[in-house]
Symmetry: C2
Subunit: 106 residues, 2 copies
């Protein structure tokens, strides 16, 4: 679903990935990470889509909350597994959302 | 593919969408828009993934180049078709990329 984020400014972490073959229990980890992220102070939402590449965008109140999430030990383990099992390459971009607008069909 | 963007800062336009049923010639338009965007001054790259939702992130040198692209007449027509044909809802976020890092498996 589209994340229901507050009025900007807030932060986006854009994670773009190229995948290895096979699932390697990715689904279980991804589900767990979303549950864990929701409990973090400053977490605002997450959006994810995947076909040839994967794009996951998570939204955060500020850089401090992103930093704390990066230091979460379970998240660290998941990222290590990502490098070992799931991704052949990825790029992470930290960006400050300055404006947004949306559309909903009546 | 993962866009090969320059050293930050630069801008990201994060476009998250929920789709109507059917293709309605979306593929042809999407291909045309990427070709057209590549010709725009300030365009840095684009990444796109889709399954339950669609996420397209395009990267731009600055707000001015995003504004010019938004004013492109063919792009305007495509956006109108998007509202009519392809999307039941979407959200667009304009964000300034402040930092990035990547990983490539050897």
């Amino acid at each position: 679903m589209i994340a229901e984020t507050p009025t900007p400014p807030y932060y986006a972490v854009i994670f773009t990935s190229i995948w290895t073959e096979g699932d390697n229990n990715y689904g279980d980890m991804a589900e767990r990470m979303v549950l864990l992220a929701r409990d973090q102070d400053g977490f605002l939402g997450v959006e994810s889509a995947r076909n040839e590449i994967g794009i996951t965008v998570s939204y955060w109140r500020d850089l401090e909350s992103i930093k704390k999430w990066k230091e979460n030990s379970e998240h660290k383990t998941a990222r290590e597994n990502g490098r070992k099992l799931w991704y052949t390459s990825f790029k992470t971009r930290i960006a400050k959302v300055e404006s947004d607008y949306d559309f909903h069909k009546l």
